[in-house]
Every structure is written in C-alpha cells, then in structure tokens.
C-alpha cells in the first residue's frame, strides 16, 4: 500500500515535470520575443534575463516611424487573407455539398484528384506560373496571392465540408426540394446555417495559411502587394543583428492576430485537423 502511494506521487511529479517541459518548449520562443520587444534595447541581451521589467513601447514607435513598408504589408496581408478565406470557404462549401449529396464513382475520382494534387509542392508550380502571371500582368498584385492561397486549400476544404455536411440529414433537403426550392436555395437556407461550424473550421485553416505564407509571396510580389511575412523577412536580412528591438516588435505584430485566433478557437481547429487528417 505504502509503495503504491509513493509511486503515484512520483507519477504525479513526473507528469508535472513533463507538462512544464511541454509548456516551455511551446511558449518560451514566443514569449521570449514578445518580452524582448517590450524591453529597452540595452536589456534585451542582458544576462541573466530579467523577467520583471517596465515595458516600453519605444520599439513599436520606431517600427511605426522607420518601417512604413511593414504596415503596408500588414494591410496587404489582411486583404489577401480575407479574400482567400472567402473564396476558399465558398468554393469548398459548394464542392462539399456536392460530395455529400451525390455518391458516384465519378465523384469519388474527382475527390481523389483533389487529394492527389495536394502532393505537388507549391514551389514546383511557381516555375510555370511565373511567366504566366507576368503575361497576365498579375505580378505583384494581391489577386494572384488570393487565387493561389485559395487553390491550395480547396482540396482539404472540400473534404472537410463534406464530412460536416454529411451530418446534416438528407431528409431536410429532400423536404425543401418537394417544396419547390432549388439547390442554391437549399444550400443557402438549409445547409449553410447548419454547416456553419464546418465553414468556421475551414476559414481558420485558410486564415492561418494565408496570413503566414512565405514562398508564393516571395516569388510573386515585390513592392505593391508585399505581405507582412515578406516585409518581416526583409527586416531580418536588413538588420543582421543590429536593431533587434524593432525586429521583435514587428514579429510580435505579425504573429499576434492569428495566434489569438488559434488559441481562442482551438476547439474548432482540433475538430477540423482531426476530421481532415483522418478522413482526407
């Protein structure tokens, strides 16, 4: 009896230690730069690190004054993220509706096609797209990023929406059909309200991707449509270790919006990640 008790204490201590390690691993890198962005320049590399300090916003003010391009990038990122999210969610909902309500071998093979295409690395398609985008005069526009980001997420989005719409009883749309409603009406009045949680899941994935994406923005934008990650990357190479405080302020600003969304909406994200991964 006594032995068992000590071993359960040891177990609890072990668990506590494991949780501490996991928390440190996940949050320490994020916390480190957020804290450093609030410290006066001379304290950022002070050893040992001070955990308690008077926060200062000097780096954020300097960022605002010296790097207007970064805020332009934030605006671009915002527009691109909203555009890509709306487009991807709409296209995914339409396709998911069809996949849920019509089960034929042909439908299954088009779904297989959508999955297979996801195996192609994004960087590979930049090769032919680069001249095409230039010919169409889409280079350095937000539109090209919106189209690309949506394209790379509709596969997963469509399958995710199918698994959500599958849970809506078919009798509901059949009743509406009998009443003379068209498929678009059914989609708008019956399916979309009930599948809203699914659409939110898809939207979160697209948002995280579009807000943070680097390769396409790097290759297809240069000045006007430059997104925040790209502006941040340019600051990394421009500084080369000189003005860390401003860099940390920029990284914090770029990171915070989506970080908050993910942490607040974790339940939806987990539901989506598991549904998409296991079924798709």
């Amino acid at each position: 009896m006594r032995l068992r008790k000590t071993s359960s204490y040891a177990m609890r201590a072990g668990k506590l230690l494991a949780v501490a390690v996991i928390l440190a691993w996940s949050l320490l890198p994020i916390g480190a730069i957020v804290m450093a962005s609030l410290k006066p320049a001379k304290d950022i590399f002070a050893m040992p690190q001070h955990l308690l300090f008077h926060p200062t916003f000097v780096h954020y003010i300097a960022l605002w004054q010296k790097w207007p391009g970064f805020f332009h990038g934030l605006v671009n990122s915002f527009v691109v993220t909203v555009g890509a999210t709306l487009l991807a969610v709409a296209a995914s909902a339409l396709a998911g509706f069809a996949y849920s309500r019509r089960r034929t071998p042909a439908m299954a093979s088009t779904a297989g096609f959508l999955i297979a295409v996801r195996l192609i690395p994004p960087i590979v398609v930049t090769l032919p797209l680069f001249p095409i985008v230039n010919t169409l005069h889409l280079e350095d526009t937000r539109l090209v990023l919106i189209l690309l980001y949506a394209s790379f997420f509709v596969s997963m989005g469509a399958l995710l929406m199918r698994s959500f719409i599958d849970q809506i009883p078919r009798e509901l749309d059949e009743a509406a059909l009998v009443d003379g409603a068209g498929y678009l009406t059914i989609l708008r009045r019956v399916i979309m309200p009930l599948a809203a949680p699914g659409m939110v899941s898809v939207a979160i994935f697209v948002m995280v991707y579009a807000w943070n994406e680097y390769i396409f923005a790097f290759i297809f934008t240069s000045i006007h449509a430059k997104t925040a990650p790209l502006a941040l990357a340019e600051m990394v190479s421009a500084f080369d270790g000189v003005d860390w405080g401003v860099l940390f302020a920029a990284a914090t600003v770029q990171m915070l919006p989506v970080l908050l969304v993910v942490m607040l909406m974790q339940k939806k994200l987990v539901a989506g990640l598991t549904a998409g991964a296991v079924k798709g």
């Binding site: 960087i123 090769l127 990284a251 993910v262």
Partner: protein, 289 residues
Amino acid sequence: MGRGVAAWLLAPAHGLVLAAIAIPALYVVWLSFTRSSFGQAPVFIGLSNYFDVLGDPYFRRALWNTLILVVVVVHVELVAGLGMALLFASGLRARALLLAAVLAPYAVSQVAAVVMWRFLFDPDIGPLTLALQSVGLPGLDWSVSPSAGLAIVALLSIWMNLPFTFIILYAARLSVPGELYEAARVDGTTRLQSFWHISFPLLRPAMLVAMLFRYIFAFRLFAEVWLMTQGGPARSTEVVGVYLYLEAFRYNAFGAAAATGWIMVVVCLLLASVYLWRLRRGMVADAVA
C-alpha cells in the same frame, strides 16, 4: 442530386485547382524535358536535365540534407507527439488551456519562428547560446558550421509542426474506448503492458497517417532554410526546395529546376509509399481480423 447540379457545384473548386496547380504541374513535366530560361523559347532536350541535376554535387548535397532533416524531424515529432498524446489523455488539470498553449506554434509564421530561433541561438549574444556556454556546451553557430545550421533548422521545423502530429495522435488516442484500459487494469496489467498491447496497436494507423502527411510536407521545406542560412555557408545547408529556387530564379535554368521539381515529387512519394503500403496492409489485416 443530378449530375448537372453536381458539376456546377464542383466547378469553382476544380477550376482553381486545375488552373493554379494541376495544369502548371503538367507543364513542369514538359519544361523538364527542355532547355529554357526566362523569356526564351524552350528547346526539347530529352532527359538531359535529369542527368545534369542528378549529377550535380550541389543537388546531391541538397537531397541528402533534405532526407536527413525529414527523417529526423518526422520521427522526433512522432515520438514526442505520441508521448504528449498519452500524457494529455491520462487526465490533466486545465487541459483546454494546455491544449491552446501546445497549439500556439501552429499559428506562428515561418518568418516569425526564424526570428525567434535566430534570437535564442544568436552565436554571440543569444540567451540559449549563453546558457549553453555557461554549462560548458557549445552553441549552434549556424553561420559557420553546416551541421549546426541543419540542427537549428530541424529544431525550428519540429517546433512548428509538432502541434499537427500531436493533434492527430491525441484524437486517435481519445477514440480508443476507455473500457479497454479498465478491463486491462482489472486483469492486473502494468501501465507499460497496456501501452504495448492496447495503445500502440490501436494508434498505429493514426501514427502512419501522421507520418505520411509529415513526410510529404516536410519534403517541401524551403522558407525555414532560406531565412535561416540561405543554404550557406558555401551551399552546404541547401535543401531540395532551395536548390530548385536557385536554379530557377538565380541561374535562370528553368529546365533543370523543373526536373528538380519532379525528382522532388517522386522521392517524396517513394518515402511516403512505404508507409502508404504498410497502412494499406494494416487496414486489410484489420478487415480480416
């Protein structure tokens, strides 16, 4: 639902995927058989791009680096993710809060993550470098040592992608019926036994799925390396994605870059197919049993 309606509903998604991914990917096949650079008409040259690329020591180095990174990163993630899934399933206080913390790196952009890890491991003044030095360990000087460069890229990749691996395994663990563990406990099995005889076999399909996904996605590695080391010093930490980018957009060798792209797809599928095959076999076995 009629065929016509379904076709209209599928049209937007397929239009996007065809125009942005499928047709360009096929065009890359054609491009890989030609010599071309930006603004020039391509000339058909057969397989020689493939021979050139496979014979290029820089490509081999890049492929080797990629394979090492993928294998290390994916397996470390799998072991850590499995451990975390079991820990979370064993009952923790404030689980929702912990889950939010664990998912946080998923929301961080590659660029911001690079900023963090460059700061922590800065060779001269990084807090982790100083901490390591204070206990007599060397830091990770990625600007000088290729293996340090790859190590920091691996750390960064694991940090960013562990949430994904963990979530898949955690969801699978939650779907294992609790009665199984209770029955085992009644029979007097130890924790280790119930892991080997219940958790491990039942989680195997999810582990394979997670690995398959991660193999395919880890192979695309580009931004982490590009932003951390630019493939340097002296092209020693290049990965296949970086090699492809340099061939296309720095050396204007679109044909060679296209060949690299297809080699990338094929190698990545070969790596993944082992798991795909095992997964299939496992499913057949489950269906029979």
